[in-house]
């Protein structure tokens, strides 16, 4: 029994050796994008409901947000910064049977959110590195309403977290390599390791939002142009789209490599929101910090690069 298990293990490692090399040689793609937009899902929103015997309820909504996103990536540096500033106004009128008028609650809310992360490798892209990861949410809400009618007190919510530290090694996501191999397999074409790697880079850039954020409406066209040019199959766009999007060809996420890292996290919270139904009148600032450490080792050992598919 032990000999059979040993044989199975050796067979797995030998058969997957070529595939593992493809995973190991996968380079982190180099690209960046910068995007900023103004949006309002409800620049003007109005809902009126009249149910028999229950009177008329009217709700007005108005909001506007400014959103910003930046991402940069190369084998040594990965950084992103996303932020949004939004304003929302809401007014609700419900019937007041005592006064034969309406109870009114108005809410004006300002919301600022920022999230960023940055990591930098020093000498080589799988060696010593520094990382930081932070987010902050600041929300301020003011309520006014009909005198005598209850409405919540003003909301204040400030939550900020930052984690920074250092480590050694790298775990690389390699699903795009498996996807490139699936394309080659399904199209029945033989591709060199270099072309497979270039295909994987294009797929990974697409999955990380590069084409959508850079080319907007033309994202799919640019993506398919680059992909089909690499394998010289410009007339097979529909088939490649099917391979990339159909559930028949989906593959699970794969990672390759190892890393050990440690850092210090600082968390700050000042909020009077107890839950979505209740707001406290008082708020106090809380600080907390924690030590963080992690070790991760991962090696795909499937019999072939495209995975075990039925």
């Amino acid at each position: 029994m032990k000999k059979v298990l040993l044989f199975c293990l050796l067979f797995t490692l030998l058969v997957s050796a070529q595939d593992v090399n493809l995973f190991y040689n996968h380079k982190i793609p180099t690209f960046d994008y910068h995007v900023m937009y103004v949006a309002a899902n409800d620049l003007l929103g109005f809902t009126s409901s009249l149910y028999n015997g229950q009177g008329k309820t009217e709700t007005y909504n108005s909001g506007l947000s400014l959103n910003h996103g930046y991402h940069t990536q190369n084998p040594k540096i990965t950084g992103s910064l996303n932020s949004s500033l939004s304003y929302n106004y809401n007014k609700q009128q419900t019937p007041n049977w005592n006064t034969h008028g309406y109870n009114t609650i108005e809410r004006a809310e300002t919301d600022f959110q920022v999230y960023g992360k940055y990591s930098r490798y020093f000498d080589n892209e799988k060696g010593l590195y520094f990382f930081t990861d932070g987010s902050a949410i600041c929300l301020n809400g003011n309520y006014t309403g009909t005198p005598g009618h209850s409405y919540p007190p003003d909301l204040t919510h400030l939550n900020a977290n930052i984690l920074m530290g250092g480590g050694y090694g790298r775990v690389v996501e390699v699903r795009s390599v498996a996807k490139a191999a699936i394309i080659a397999d399904e199209m029945n074409i033989s591709l060199s390791a270099d072309i497979l790697e270039q295909l994987a880079v294009v797929i990974e850039k697409s999955e990380n939002g590069y084409y959508t954020m850079t080319f907007k409406d033309d994202a799919e066209i640019k993506f398919m142009e680059e992909l089909t040019a690499l394998i010289n199959k410009q007339d097979q766009t529909a088939k490649i789209q099917q391979i990339l999007n159909s559930s028949l060809y989906k593959t699970i996420n794969r990672y390759y490599g190892w890393t050990v890292k440690a850092g210090l996290g600082i968390n700050m919270l000042q909020s009077n929101i107890r839950n979505i139904y209740y707001v406290d009148k008082d708020k106090e600032l809380q600080f907390d910090s924690d030590f963080y450490t992690a070790f991760r080792y991962t090696l795909p050992i499937s019999f072939n690069i495209i995975g075990q598919r039925a």
Partner: protein
């Protein structure tokens, strides 16, 4: 009578063109009394094997009305 007028044009926030905007409108009116107008009485059987003709609940004013208007946009500065 059931009247439903909806979705003249929907705003799609998933659209990544440089500028997209839309209006969503819906009006719904429902009068439940009309549903009962043809049979104002129904036969009910009870556990003592007796049956009775009982009037159905008929209201001439069971109405509900919902109006929705939404206007939105999205503009990419860059």
């Amino acid at each position: 009578m059931n009247c439903n007028f909806s979705r003249v044009f929907a705003f799609d926030s998933g659209n990544y063109s440089n500028f997209s905007a839309g209006v969503y409108t819906q009006y719904m009116f429902l009068n439940r009394a009309a549903l009962y107008a043809n049979a104002a009485y129904e036969k009910r059987e009870y556990s003592n094997y007796m049956s009775y003709e009982v009037p159905k609940y008929v209201s001439s004013a069971w109405e509900s009305e919902i109006t929705n208007i939404h206007l939105g946009f999205k503009y990419f500065i860059f």
